[in-house]
Every structure is written in structure tokens, then in C-alpha cells.
Symmetry: C2
């Protein structure tokens, strides 16, 4: 290499490092507050009665995995656009329904992540930069849309959430004056939540904060108890709220000229896509991987699972979940690991990230912050892949969740992104 070339490379690296510093500073300075509940059609930019939003990068009906298709059809039934699976299937083939990724509308959804017009959404505002993000309420376990398990009870539960639960929660959230999400998660990290697959403590903390607003409403006790029990019975309730906060953090870190920080990792069950701050809205895509390191329910195995799915990896993009797994070693046990494995994973994530987020101090690492700000260059150089805590959904039968474990973002997404970055900024290889 000539001296000029060395100097040029140094200059470029310096530019990138400075841009990344800005990106992670913005990421860490967001103040996400759960402020409202509203209907998708009311609040989502670009939403129509005939639009269905889904997790992951853009995808056509034909390429969608089975559980996502099932969830889309369930949403059409909920909306009254189809009366059953058959008519929903027909409607989808008619191409009258617009499919669009959550990420294009400021929304994020776990697993299938399906959002339709009448669904009530969590509305989260970033008090620093003024952005807004959205997600559905978490439905809990069993026959649920987010796992593509659509039966009559699935639709009944969605109706309950829409018609009974959400109107009460809207009043509750208004009464709280807003729930600061980082504050809940900062406590959660001290209490064994990695804030993706484990939200037991965070959900309890959230519950505690809404008891007074809920029971002071002028509604019947029965109604209040129904709302309370729905949350208390679902230790994953806070997951979707966490996702909205992480989305806001990544929005704040987006579109920084020269930055190589990853601003989204997302999967639709077919493709795995990432976005990079300095490269705008472009997706860098690879086939979504299977969950090789997972604990499957009895009777199920690797062959039964759909490829990884959901927008929930926005949590890892923000430095929680798999990146904070040392805070919740039980999550490593899904991948046959112990405490030391959980520490190793968090430490490894430190090698592909830019900083530590001191808001989230991991007790077993002497309260060191979570590794934050994935740098595509570091992933490509080290070949260490972002580790994501995830769940497995059945690939064809519609039974819903069949396991949980750890999955890694595909290397190919990062090499494509690095190449595109080089081209975009006209950097010599």
C-alpha cells in the first residue's frame, strides 16, 4: 500500500468512527415513553383498511412462510375482510390486500408481527428527538396470531384485546402520564431480564406502575380485573413495549452519513435483513436461518421449525436481549449453555459493537453496560455474528410456538452491507 493509500484509509476510518460515535450517542440519548394506545388505522403513516403489516424485510404473499400466511389470514378475519381461511386465501390471491413491512410504518412486531387496521397499538414517543413508534399488545402464549396459530380462540382474544382491553389501557396509560421504558428495563436487567425472551421482572414492574391508574378508573371491578389478569398472566407482556423503545433508539441512530452502525435486524421467516445507518433504508438480505441452538418442545425438532422470524431482533440491534444474555443465564440454557456461556456471548458481542450502554448494567459483569452499536465492519472482520434470543414457530402445522433458543444473524447480510458501503461512499477495497 502506498503512503497516500494508508493515509486515505486512516482518514476514512476516522470519518466512520466519528459518525458511529454520533450514531451511538443518539441511540443512547433517546427517552422512550409509552404515552398512548391508539388504533393502527388512526395513527400509522400509510395505513389503509386493506393494508396488512408484517415483520421483517418486504415480502410477497407467495414467498411468505406458512405461519406468517396463517397470521395474515387471521388478521383478515379479524378485520371482517374474510369470513374464513378459504376466503382469506382467495382474497390474498386477488392482490387487493397491500402487504408492507412494519419497519416502513414506524412499527415493530414480534414473530409474524402482523398488524391490521383495527388493531390497537402501543404508542411510544421519544422525548429527545420527537419520533414515535408502535407495536401491538403482546397476546401471550397458546393459540395466538404472533405465532401464526389461528383458531377461533385466537380471533376471540384479538377481539378482547381490541374491544375490551385496549380502551381500558388507553385510559390507564393516559392516567400514568406516560411510562418511561428505559427505567423499567434498567430495573429489569438487575432482576434477571435480558429484555427479549425474559421480561418477567419488567412486566412485574410495569404492572406495579399501573395498578393505581387501573383501579382508580370509573369502570367495574370485573373489567379492571380482566385487564389486570391479562397482563399478570403473561410474563412476556412487556416485550412489545421494549421493542417500541428499541425501534426509537435505532431510528435516532439512522441516516448518519458515514456510519457503519446496524440500525435494524429483522426477519420475515423467509429473509433476514439488516439496515445500516449510513446506507439509509436499504435492506441487506440473506436467507433467514433455522434455530440450531434451541430447546424444542417434546415431539419437535430442528426440522419442524420455520426459519427465524420477527422484528424483535430490534432488541439485539439496540444491545439488549442476546447481547445482554449474561443478565439472564437461564436463556443460555435453551442452547444447552450455562452461566459462563452467557457471559461469553455478552463479551463476544462486545467485540462487534461500538460502546457499552451504562443504563443497563449487568450484575454478573460488575454492572458493565450492555454492548451496543453493532458495527458491520467488526462483524465482517471478526466473523462474530450477532447473537439473538428467539423463539421457534412450526413451519407448517399452525400449532404455534415449538421452541426457544439462540440464532445468529447471517454473515452474508454484513458482507453485502460492507460492500454496499464501500460502493456508496466510493471507497477503494
Amino acid at each position: 500500500m502506498t503512503d497516500n493509500k494508508v493515509n486515505e484509509n486512516k482518514y476514512i476510518a476516522q470519518n466512520i468512527n466519528e459518525a458511529n460515535k454520533i450514531a451511538v450517542e443518539r441511540l443512547m440519548s433517546v427517552q422512550p415513553v409509552l404515552t398512548d394506545i391508539d388504533t393502527a388505522l388512526n395513527v400509522l403513516p400509510g395505513m389503509t383498511p386493506h393494508t396488512i403489516l408484517h415483520s421483517g424485510p418486504p415480502i410477497t404473499w407467495g414467498r411468505m412462510c406458512d405461519p406468517m400466511k396463517r397470521a395474515v389470514k387471521g388478521a383478515l378475519i379479524l378485520e371482517g375482510l374474510a369470513k374464513d381461511d378459504k376466503s382469506a386465501e382467495k382474497l390474498m390471491k386477488s392482490k387487493k390486500i397491500i402487504l408492507s413491512p412494519n419497519h416502513y410504518h414506524g412499527t415493530v412486531g414480534p414473530m409474524t408481527g402482523i398488524i391490521s387496521a383495527s388493531m390497537p397499538l402501543i404508542v411510544t414517543k421519544d422525548m429527545t428527538y420527537g419520533n414515535t413508534s408502535y407495536s401491538t399488545f403482546n397476546e401471550g402464549g397458546g393459540k395466538v396470531l404472533w405465532f401464526g396459530a389461528v383458531e377461533e380462540e385466537t380471533i376471540d382474544k384479538l377481539r378482547f384485546i381490541r374491544d375490551e382491553f385496549a380502551p381500558v389501557m388507553k385510559k390507564v396509560i393516559k392516567k400514568t402520564g406516560g411510562v418511561p421504558i428505559w427505567s423499567v428495563l434498567a430495573q429489569g436487567i438487575q432482576m434477571g431480564d435480558e429484555c427479549h425472551n425474559r421480561h418477567a421482572a419488567s412486566t412485574n414492574i410495569f404492572l406495579k406502575s399501573i395498578v393505581e391508574p387501573l383501579f382508580s378508573l370509573n369502570i367495574s371491578k370485573e373489567k379492571a380485573f380482566k385487564v389486570y389478569k391479562f397482563i399478570a398472566g403473561n410474563s412476556h407482556f412487556f416485550l412489545n413495549i421494549t421493542m417500541t423503545a428499541c425501534k426509537l433508539a435505532m431510528v435516532a441512530a439512522s441516516d448518519i452519513e458515514n456510519s457503519t452502525i446496524v440500525t435494524a435486524m429483522s426477519r420475515n421467516g423467509t429473509d433476514f435483513g439488516i439496515r445500516v445507518s449510513g446506507l439509509g433504508d436499504k435492506w441487506f438480505i440473506a436467507p433467514s436461518p433455522l434455530l440450531l441452538d434451541a430447546l424444542y418442545n417434546p415431539g419437535y425438532g430442528l426440522d419442524d421449525g420455520a426459519p427465524d422470524i420477527g422484528d424483535s431482533s430490534i432488541i439485539e440491534t439496540m444491545g439488549l436481549g442476546g447481547f445482554a444474555i449474561a443478565a439472564a443465564p437461564s436463556m443460555a440454557s435453551f442452547a444447552d449453555g450455562g452461566f459462563q456461556d452467557s457471559v461469553n456471548i455478552t463479551k463476544q458481542m462486545g467485540l462487534i459493537t461500538t460502546t457499552k450502554n451504562s443504563k443497563f448494567g449487568i450484575p454478573s459483569l460488575d454492572f458493565e453496560g450492555t454492548p451496543t452499536g453493532i458495527d458491520i465492519r467488526k462483524v465482517v472482520e471478526t466473523e462474530i455474528l450477532p447473537s439473538i434470543n428467539s423463539a421457534v414457530v412450526h413451519k407448517s402445522t399452525g400449532v404455534g410456538q415449538i421452541g426457544a433458543g439462540i440464532v445468529h444473524a447471517p454473515y452474508e447480510c454484513f458482507t453485502s452491507a460492507v460492500m454496499a458501503f464501500g460502493e456508496h461512499y466510493d471507497l477503494a477495497a
Copy 2:
């Protein structure tokens, strides 16, 4: 040593080991359930309107430390037996008031541990062996009797607890059908509680379990909120409940012929006493130590603290608190320690105990159970002293808590106990 002597020693050791095995099996098989709330005078064996119970081994008025004296006088005012500090002092000197240790009445109390006749008590039943134990409600922080900080607001709060809080909680606990305490603590250990100085998660779990019973009572919302807020505002609320459960475990392990298992460690702010299973109710006493490893509030230091005080070390006797500190590394930071120090302490406690209690799996130790069943022989042999998470109260000014940290049970208690054991069982040295 002659061959006969060697064989005799082996035989003795075998007897002791078998007895200890029985003791720890009994300890671990108790099923403590919070079943009721009732008044001390109603339920405590041997309680009279003129009796004041205190923490630690027996002690006379003259030998009591200042904060305990203050708390005794506060209780006399609460009971209407004295109108102010001066008349309370006079009453105590008249010897008309009977002082008795909590441990003689099936009760335990943190810090000063003062219990008087009209105080409402937590009633916990062991569903395995049928024993019952008791404690007061935790008053929280500030000017509170358990820290010997007695002002008008202290008495007002005790009146609120007695006259408003307890009657509601009695109904609530009845409605729950009983709160299984180990179940709360087993979850708490997974959420960063060591279950002595940190009860934040356990208190949240408890709160969650009483919301429905509380708000379904036929009382005004204001009354229900007042009760709810009292618990929600005190992350130590569950401490006293934990203590009743640990007391039941140690009662079950008591009075096992030949057993060298410690069944109580307790301090009255002057003396530190332990009891041993095979030696009945006898206390083995040494001066209570100061908290050398503590974080003091600004303006306070070692010289300001009273010697260690409270029955709460029943928690360590049962294998939680300091013995489980690896579950709550932030507790080690009070003693200037980090995560590894917390692990080291728990590991060390493994060297002086008999078994691991698998109910309480510590995440950072790959869910290994907490070290349980202190053996006086092992303490004497290894010179490793039981590590207790504790708080410091001011020795003279009545300001209440001035710090928190780690204290060690005095070696002398264990050497005395070993010698007494030898004499009692007629063992040659």
C-alpha cells in the same frame, strides 16, 4: 491416638453426620405459608400486655443498646403504657415491663425487632410440621421503630399499620388462601434478590399476588390504595415475611439429638448469640460485632454504628441472604466488593455448611442451590465465619439507619458451642 479412640471418633462423627442430615432434610422440607394476620396479644404464646419482645438473645434493660431502648420506649407509647420518652424510661426502670426475646415466642423481628401487645403480626404456618411463626409488618425507611428512630411520625405509622393496614391485610391474606413463601423467594433469587437486604423482586411478586384479593374487598378505593401504596413503596416489605419462613425452617431443624447444625444466629445490638440443634435452646454468646465492611451514609462511619442487631440473620442461618449473595452482587458493593467477591462469599459459605438447597438456584452459579445448614464443627475447623448481610443503626442519636453492609458471626460463639457440644455428649476432646 489409640485404635479404640480412632474408632470411637469415627463413630461419633458418623452419628453427628447422620443427625445433621436429618436436620437439614427437615429444614428443607418445611412449607411455610403466610396464612393470617393477628395481634401479638391474641396469638403469641406467653404474651402479656406488659411484655415487650426484642431481637437477639435475652438482655436486660440496662444492657440494651441505645436504639433498642428507644424502640422499647416507642412501643410503650404505642401501647398507651407511657405518654412520652420520660415516662417510658421511668416505667422501664420500675421493672413492671417484662422483656423477652422474640425467639422464645416463635417470633422474629429485624433490627431492634420490638413487638408489643397490640401490634399486628404476620402469621406463617409450616404445612409440613405444623409449626407457626410470627413477625411484624416491615415499616419501611425513615423514622421507624425497627431502626430505633422514634418520633411522632413513627408512632403515627405504627398506628396506621395496626388500625388501618393490618385489618385490610388480614382480609387480603384470607382471600389469597395463603401465600407460599418459598415460591416467592425461589422466583426472587432468579431476579436478583438475596432475600435479606434485597427483596425488591420478591416484594413485587408478592404485590402481584395480592392485587386481586385487595381490590375485590368491599372497602373504599382510597383505603385499598393506601394499603397498596404502603407495600409498593417499600422494597423491603417482604423481608419480615421471609424471616418467618426461615424461622420455621430452623424450628424444624431444632432439637435433633447429636446434630451440630446452627438453628439460630441472632443479635440484640449488645450480644450475638447462636443456637445449635443438638443443644436445645441454649445460646452461645459473644459481643455483637460492628459492621467493618459497610457503606455508611454521608457523615457517618464505623464509630457511629451500634453493634450488629436483629433476628434477621435467621435468613443466613437458613442459607439465604449473605449465603446467597452471589444472586445479588450489588449487595457485595456495600462492602466494596464486586461480582467475584459475591461468588467467593457464597462459595466460602459452602465450606461451612452441610448441603445445597436446590429450591434456591443461583443463576450465576449455574443454578446451584444456596449453601445450607451451618455446621459448628466446620466453622471452628475452617475459621470461616458465617457472612451476614446487615444494616447499621446509629448507636446513640436515634437517627435510625446510617449504613448497610456485611458482618461476620463471632468465632467465639462457635468455639463455645463446640465445647458445650463435647461436654453435653460426653465426647473426649
